[in-house]
């Protein structure tokens, strides 16, 4: 391999790797192949280090179009690969200088990787996001109405009376907003706890930035759940039931994903412990 070629890793599997994957296209339209490494098999493709070397990556990752193309190509290989055999996705932008150097790095972590493969084998990831529903969009009975008993200063009282009345209304409005946020947070906590009990494992991602998601409502939950591959329908019905039980939340289900959020070596997730 010449000096400006590197190896981009997509996923690791314990599969023998004797399947033909050359019909798969990876990042930069490169052909995907399997590479043996320390008794494991890695889905890889050869990349040009002028584009995928460290300095180039630092630059390119700040280019949204480049990042999107690479992220989607990386995902496509992992998504298709996960239909062929259980696999551990590798973090985006894992690049080695050669198959041999990759095998050397993986060799030191073989037992840990096999254990992780065991954990995610036969399972998929489902994503659940929860947004706080603005009070005004909730069914009327569920709204947190500002207390009206003292808010009824007669209209047209003028001057000081009108000002006071405005302040009172505003204060009640703000406290209703705060109450609605509290209720959404409590709801999200309950939904997460419920779904954790239904899942083999769970991870919490940070809430997405409204600028990126395009949704201005506060995101109260951005979670991933590891679920048996055959239990997708059951899990989706749990989420649907939770959505019905929590009008203060708008739940959004994505998946099934390859087990991205569970491929790491963090062991039992804090999310799981939190849920009690």
């Amino acid at each position: 391999m010449s000096d400006d070629r590197g190896v981009w890793a997509y996923a690791i599997t314990a599969d023998a790797g004797d399947q033909d994957v050359s019909w798969l296209t990876g990042v930069a339209d490169a052909t995907v192949r399997t590479a043996p490494a320390a008794g494991l098999t890695v889905l890889v493709s050869d990349v040009d280090l002028n584009e995928f070397g460290e300095a180039a990556l630092r630059r390119n990752l700040e280019d949204l179009d480049w990042l999107e193309g690479v992220a989607r190509a990386h995902h496509e290989v992992i998504a298709v690969g996960s239909k062929l055999f259980p696999l551990l996705p590798t973090r985006l932008a894992t690049v080695y200088s050669s198959d041999a150097s990759m095998a050397a790095v993986l060799g030191g972590r073989r037992d840990e990787l096999l254990a992780a493969l065991e954990r995610v084998g036969g399972r998929v990831e489902w994503g659940v996001k929860a947004y706080a529903v603005p009070d005004s969009e909730q069914p009327e009975a569920m709204r947190h109405e500002p207390a009206s008993a003292e808010g009824g200063a007669p209209a047209g009282a003028g001057g000081r009376g009108a000002g006071l009345s405005y302040l009172k209304r505003r204060k009640a409005q703000l406290s209703a907003q705060a109450e609605s946020q509290r209720s959404a947070a409590a709801g999200a906590h309950a939904v997460h706890g419920h779904l954790c009990r239904r899942a083999a494992d769970a991870r919490l991602h940070p809430p997405q930035s409204p600028q990126l998601s395009g949704d201005k409502r506060p995101m109260m939950l951005n979670a991933a759940y590891l679920v048996d591959a055959g239990d997708g329908t059951g899990f989706a019905s749990e989420v649907a039931a939770a959505a019905d039980a929590h009008p203060e939340l708008d739940l959004n289900l994505t998946g099934p994903w390859p087990p991205y959020s569970f491929a790491g070596d963090e062991g039992q997730s804090p999310a799981r412990r939190d849920s009690g």
Binding site: L61, E62, T94, S101, Q211
Partner: protein, 66 residues
């Protein structure tokens, strides 16, 4: 009904997956296997870099549209 299900990543062309959901996973998920001979990104915070790129491009779009 307040449940929306917009994606089936493993079953539909990846173009339909929301980029922000995908980046949650490919940038902060996945197993990290690096060593001295890994060429790239061993010590780089991918999320920070790409978030900066995303926010920059979002605000550029916003400026264009005004």
């Amino acid at each position: 009904m307040t449940l929306s299900r917009e994606l089936v990543p493993a079953d539909v062309p990846s173009q339909r997956i929301a980029l922000v959901d995908l980046l949650d996973r490919v940038l902060s998920g996945g197993v990290v296997i690096t060593g001295e001979i890994t060429l790239s990104m061993a010590d780089v915070d991918l999320v920070t870099i790409s978030l900066r790129a995303l926010l920059a491009s979002v605000s550029a779009l916003a400026e264009e549209s005004t």
